[in-house]
């Protein structure tokens, strides 16, 4: 080992440890904020320029699954159109008796804040995105983020003046109290390292089947109830397990989000033990 190698190795190791300590004490926050503010236009240009190539590579990588997915989507589209027609009828009836008023109060249109995704976490083990609104726009940690189609995206975990980081529900650290809409079976939807959603703690006796919708239950106060999370794609039940293994598909693709909505009217409640 040369003296120069030793010097550089020591320098990097010491710098890494110092920066880890500084990050823990949030001393690096202004630097991170400034760096992202300065570099986000450059990232936007690079991202937009290379997006067609990235899409092309992704399509090649997914070629085997695309045909099957296309068939499934056509079938699902037909089913959704039929459900939409029924839902319209139901909505008209509900409106007549005033039930939709509660939904309106839950999600008033002006309480959403539109945000663009400006960066993504660069590691394979986390699922986080940065959005271009921050504490200066009234965004606070704990606020929830949904897609434009109103399905759950995640939670704001860190805010800076002009941007914020959002932990997606597919992140391995994410856990959302949830229930199956049809059977009201409760559980916790958690992310895993493969970027998938798993509904945990669903008892063996609960009625859960493929195609059921999963929504937030509101338990714990971290999320408002009734927000769509996804649809059950696979249920595995073995007699020796305490719980069923329930896999959930998010309705939107969280890996290539571009715009999201921050629900400004909801503030998470911290429930203290009695």
């Amino acid at each position: 080992m040369t003296a120069r190698t030793l010097a550089w190795t020591s320098f990097i190791a010491i710098a890494a440890l110092l920066m880890m300590a500084a990050s823990g004490l949030t001393l690096l926050d202004p630097v991170e904020s400034g760096t992202l503010s300065v570099t986000s236009p450059v990232q936007d240009v690079m991202s937009d320029t290379t997006r067609p190539v990235a899409d092309w590579i992704n399509n090649i990588a997914d070629a085997g699954a695309l045909s099957d997915e296309n068939k499934e989507l056509r079938a699902e589209n037909e089913q959704l159109r039929s459900e939409l027609a029924r839902a319209r009828e139901a909505a008209i009836e509900a409106e007549q008796i005033g039930e939709l008023e509660a939904v309106r109060q839950q999600f008033p249109a002006d309480d959403f804040r539109l945000a663009s995704v400006i960066a993504r976490d660069t590691s394979n083990v986390r699922s986080l995105v940065a959005i271009d609104v921050g504490s200066g726009d009234g965004v606070r940690e704990g606020m929830i983020v949904v897609t434009e189609g109103r399905s759950l995206v995640g939670t704001v975990t860190k805010t800076f003046d002009d941007y914020a980081w959002v932990m997606l529900i597919t992140d391995p650290k994410s856990a959302v109290s949830a229930m199956v809409q049809e059977s009201r079976a409760e559980g916790v939807v958690a992310g895993d390292y493969g970027g998938d959603l798993v509904m945990e703690f669903v008892g063996q006796g609960a009625v859960v089947k493929t195609g059921d919708f999963v929504i937030t239950s509101g338990l714990g106060g971290g999320y408002p109830p009734g927000i769509l999370i996804g649809r059950i794609s696979n249920v595995q039940k073995t007699e020796q397990d305490l719980f069923q293994s329930v896999h959930v598909d998010h309705l939107a693709s969280l890996s290539d989000l571009e715009r999201v909505l921050v629900l400004m009217s909801f503030e998470p409640k911290e429930i203290e033990r009695p």
Binding site: T9, A13, Q43, D44, T49, T50, N124, V125, P172
Partner: protein, 168 residues
């Protein structure tokens, strides 16, 4: 001058990784072009040339991502430095083969360290899922990028060194 060029390239490389490469998902993981290039450059030029690039790339990638710059820097150092020492053992003559072996090992180390960081700080403790869905696929996908990137690296160095069969 060499440091300025290397530092600038590393900065651009980290930005490219953060803004462009992260859009590409192969086998469920994002290829780490930055790590591939650093390891290929390590094989071609040695640890002395790569360590300054590791410093710039690690800090930049940490600052534009949510991982702490220190964590990324440490993970990169622990992935690259052992590879540099193994290179000096000259246990294979082929540069390309060495790049493949070192990159596979470096990817495993890098992704494992980030995975461990997440698990320690409250992420799901799922070793099988973590290795099966992230660490191993990431290492394999990175290795697939070696042929084109290693070729570019070979062409980027002086002609006399380029024409040698083995590295020095």
């Amino acid at each position: 001058m060499r440091y300025v060029v290397g530092g600038s390239l590393s900065f651009l490389l980290a930005m490219f990784q953060a803004s462009s490469v992260e859009q590409v998902h192969v086998a469920g993981v994002v290829p780490n072009v930055m790590l591939v290039m650093l390891v290929c450059w390590l094989v071609v030029r040695g640890l002395d040339d790569v360590l300054p690039m590791v410093a710039v790339a690690g800090i930049t990638l940490g600052l534009v991502g949510l991982q702490s710059p220190g964590v990324v820097l440490l993970a990169l150092l622990l992935a690259i430095a052992p590879a540099g020492f193994v290179r000096e053992l000259h246990f294979v003559r082929s540069e390309f083969l060495l790049a493949v072996v070192l990159l596979f090992a470096a990817s495993l180390i890098y992704e494992s360290l980030l995975l461990a960081g997440v698990m320690i700080t409250g992420g799901a403790f799922d070793l099988r899922g973590g290795f099966g869905d992230v660490v191993l696929p990431a290492a394999v996908v990175n290795v697939c990028l070696v042929p084109p990137i290693h070729l570019v690296m070979r062409l980027a160095r002086p002609a006399a060194a380029r024409n040698r069969y083995s590295y020095s």
